[in-house]
Amino acid sequence: MSDIALRVHGVSKRYLLGVPPPTTLLREHAALWARRMLQRRRAPALTEFWALRDVSFDVRRGEVVSLIGRNGAGKSTLLKILSRIIEPTKGRAEIHGRIGSMLEVGTGFHPELSGRENVYLNGAILGMRRWDIARRFDEIVAFAEIERFIDVPVKRYSSGMYIRLAFAIAAHVEPEILILDEVLAVGDAAFQRKCLGKIGSVARDGRTVLFVSHDMNAVTTLSQRALWLADGCLVDNAPVRDVVGRYLATLAVDMPRGERVLAVPDDVPVGITAARTLGPGLEPVDVLPRSSAVLVMLDGHVRRPPRDDEEYFVALDVHGADDGRLFRTHNVEQRWFAAVPREPGAFRLSCTIPAELLIPGRYRLGLIVGIAGRQHVQEVYPLLEIDVVQDRLVANVWSGHVGVVTPRCEWKLMDA
């Protein structure tokens, strides 16, 4: 008998984006199938998105493990796969024991039914037996503190009552492995403490808990170990204090500056592998005076030559401090033509952001690589961060800036 509760091995999940935009009309599917039949290969209009890439880890019986990472890192996708709601595209997971998951508070609650009726309905949806629910009914109601309202339709409940009842049911399902997604984010402080206490006692009973939370206090008090997901990859798997420390550190100064190496998956036809912001002496810098141009150097690689009707492009976005995009610039335009080579191999592109264009402040660059008019194959934001600083102050000259850019506009005093 092993003491492993969960064994996840190489789990990946792919989504095909834009297949076809409204996925639910027969006519478009017919067109897509016809295209596939003719080309024998998947139509190129499909963009792949890997929500999870090759995630592997084990969870021992009785362990409380938290899952952290930014929004969109793949945490919920992983929990859905372990709950059998969606299937992985690759990899496998072994689950030793009865699993109970709560990905949402009050799934299947019907507003017209009373609290009592919803306890039975929700319990059944979560996999409880009727006699099990009946046996624990009083306990559930007491935990939720809604004794007086148990026969009132839940549509008349306050949101707090609703959440308390929902959590109370889920907390009494008593699976061997409990999976929770962000359930601590709801309810008032007193109820959150109660939930934390319940999760702690579940763990003391020797049951396994895997939960997602953005509340680092809850994460460190409840779990022994943390898994950190970023962009679908498991980047850290260690004792909780270490992982949380490293995670918080990147949240604070996560911005890459100066130069950066980028990982490009093998199946991407073209990609940028390194990016640098260079100063006048061609050394990587991240703080530049307003009077000097910003030179962005991009190293890339063509893995697969474009088809005859295809053209690769590289673009840079410049974002202001509030994350709003100021402008985008492409490598190929009417005024200049720096096309990506068509044959496989390395290439290098440079882009000059003119001097005296940006007002002093903090800027973030974003990178887009793709096939013109078809799809994006690489998107990195933020790519690099730069600070533009005021270099000199000239007396009696207006040095304040209004707006976001200061292009060189020529002013002349004309004869009246």
Binding site: K80, S83, P88, A93, I95, H96, S101, T107, L121, A124
Partner: protein
């Protein structure tokens, strides 16, 4: 200790997981129970609405086809004749429509909890059976008023109901699975039901169908079920009994293939819905 359950990509056809269905049998009960409860909450007439639909249709059809168009009714009072056909037809059409939309209707649960997805179309065909029972009881009363006493042949009804439920599930499995990907299905169902109503002996007797086309007519499971239930209620000879085995075979194939199809694509439901 329980055996490990394995999660991995499945390929090809998947067989229905009867063990999981049995484990979740109480959820089937609760889904039906919820729909029955919710259906008549905050209504003044409550369950009486279950009777209104077939009774109203009986009045309209009797007026239009019985009185104005003077359609034959095999010698029975037209109202009794048409009501005996409406009872099975109302169940079949409600069950098919409900089963077909059952998966998409529960998308909120589908994307958050795992349970055997087959329960959804199954629950959808069980729920209208409650209304069916009520309108069947009303039929017996109505027929007694016309002096028709069905007696022993009522025992045939469970067999016909089984065929009818199998038809509804079989179609429901196909349509509900397709509905997840193609919302076109919700537009097809009313059309299908309208054509099907006129292709079935609800408003007219089977004897009106030309004899050389009866074999084809008898393959229509709705025709079999309506003729069968009406025969049992009115104690009337069944004119398409000879085609029953072929029809049962057709329904069985639809049902089994539907179950395989449903199981094979249910793993993508939560991704697509």
């Amino acid at each position: 200790m329980t055996l490990p359950s394995i999660i991995q990509p499945t390929r090809g056809l998947a067989r229905p997981d009867l063990h999981a269905l049995w484990q979740f049998r109480e959820l089937l009960y609760f889904l039906v129970w919820r729909d029955v409860k919710v259906r008549y909450k905050q209504t003044a007439l409550g369950a009486a609405w279950a009777l209104c639909q077939p009774l109203m249709q009986m009045v309209v059809l009797t007026l239009v086809f019985g009185t104005f168009a003077r359609l034959p009714s095999d010698g029975y009072p037209y109202a009794a004749f048409v009501y005996a056909g409406l009872v099975p037809w109302t169940y079949l059409s409600t069950a098919v429509a409900a089963a077909s939309t059952s998966v998409v209707a529960e998308q909120a649960i589908l994307t958050k909890v795992w349970f055997p997805r087959l329960l959804l179309p199954l629950a959808a065909i069980v729920r209208p059976a409650v209304d069916f029972a009520l309108s069947l009881a009303a039929a017996v009363v109505l027929l007694a008023w016309y002096g028709i006493h069905p007696a022993a042949r009522l025992l045939e009804l469970p067999a016909w109901l089984t065929l009818e439920a199998a038809t509804a599930v079989g179609l429901g499995l196909w349509l509900s699975a397709l509905h997840v990907r193609f919302r076109d299905v919700q537009h097809v169902i009313p059309l299908l039901l309208q054509v099907w109503l006129f292709a079935s002996p609800v408003a007219y007797p089977v004897s009106l169908v030309p004899e050389r086309w009866r074999w084809l007519y008898g393959l229509n499971p709705a025709a079999q079920v309506i003729e069968g239930m009406r025969g049992a209620l009115l104690n009337k000879p069944n004119l398409i009994m000879a085609d029953l085995p072929a029809c049962v075979a057709l329904v069985s194939v639809t049902l089994l293939a539907g179950a395989l199809f449903f199981r094979s694509i249910e793993r993508t439901f939560a991704d697509v819905v």
